[in-house]
Symmetry: C3
């Protein structure tokens, strides 16, 4: 049994959603609810859930859901780990964002049990924007029984 | 056909397990045997195996199983890539650990074939502790035929 | 329904394939076509596809397929994020490569729909060599309906 869902996220728009901005280009959006909804509507009770971002300057990660300073701190650190570099050759000027996508990853596989995502107490699913503002897409594949 | 298993790991306890300690807080635990056991008891012959860590300051990776200096070196490098930073705002003081979790990832998907994990000669599965000592949980979802 | 495929890649050989060389040791090989072929021959229409690298100094990532400067820039940045370090103890001298494998990851899970990989316009699948030249293996597990 399997389903495929998709939803959109609008990044770097509004103050409520903006976690930490490197020149207004980066953002973390909590997508736990949307993914949970895709799992619920799939009818799968026991299986897996793949969250996939079809972009090359964005990513998906699982990290703390409680204190907003955590995503802010991680986003800040990612900007330190992958700064703009004078040696970059890509003419669009967003290579630092592409680097972050490869470090964090555009895909994460979660476990579904009892018809719900299995997540730890503090875990949430975060869409990472590294080159916004943009309207982005997220795909959710649920597979199981 | 699918099963879900779980087991616990105790980190930063005892000298045998301690690979490399940043203030006694980080640790690498080889969990290949436990995951292999979950695969064997699932009855799945051909499929996939998702190893998932329900924590936000720990992760899972696949890397060398042979020379203990390799996990030690990687752990050392992760401390360099994600140091404590004066700009961090999260009051628990463990943001560097959260950063490592997003860089390495709390989930990895492996291949099962012939009823066993498909791993290269030098590969082992490692639980990464970034903010120990703690008792941690690992979930293993096996899915296939 | 599930299939397992494998193919080989020869890294750091020939100028056409060499994206960016750190002492001639690193390389990015576009494997999108090979993975797509494995999906097509699996007969799976709706499901998932796990690309797995059975090595500890190589990895797999999804990033831009269009401008060759993007993989070059990312590879350059990875060499900055994970340099050789005087503190490394592993006697083979390739710890920086092992670090990159843990940061980027030896496994990625993709979505299959309509019998094809679901990839964004700019996305391609890249084999990352960090310690070549070598002949490497890639496994592709396709699972679904």
């Amino acid at each position: 049994m399997t389903t495929l869902s998709e939803f959109s996220v609008s990044t770097c728009s509004g103050t409520a959603k903006k976690i930490y901005s490197a020149g207004g280009k980066t953002d973390w959006i909590n997508i736990t609810g949307e993914v949970q909804k895709a799992v619920a509507s799939s009818g799968v009770r026991e299986g897996v859930c793949v969250v996939f971002v079809p972009h090359t300057t964005a990513a998906v990660t699982v990290n703390e859901n409680a204190d907003p300073n955590v995503p802010r701190d991680i986003n800040f650190a990612l900007n330190m780990v992958s700064p703009e570099r004078i040696e970059f050759a890509h003419s669009e000027g967003n290579s630092a964002a592409h680097v972050k996508t490869t470090l964090v990853g555009p895909s994460i596989t979660l476990i579904v049990t009892g018809g719900k995502l299995l997540l730890g107490t503090w875990q949430g699913i975060w869409f990472n924007e590294y080159d916004g503002p943009r309207t982005r897409k997220v795909y959710v594949r649920v597979l199981g029984e």
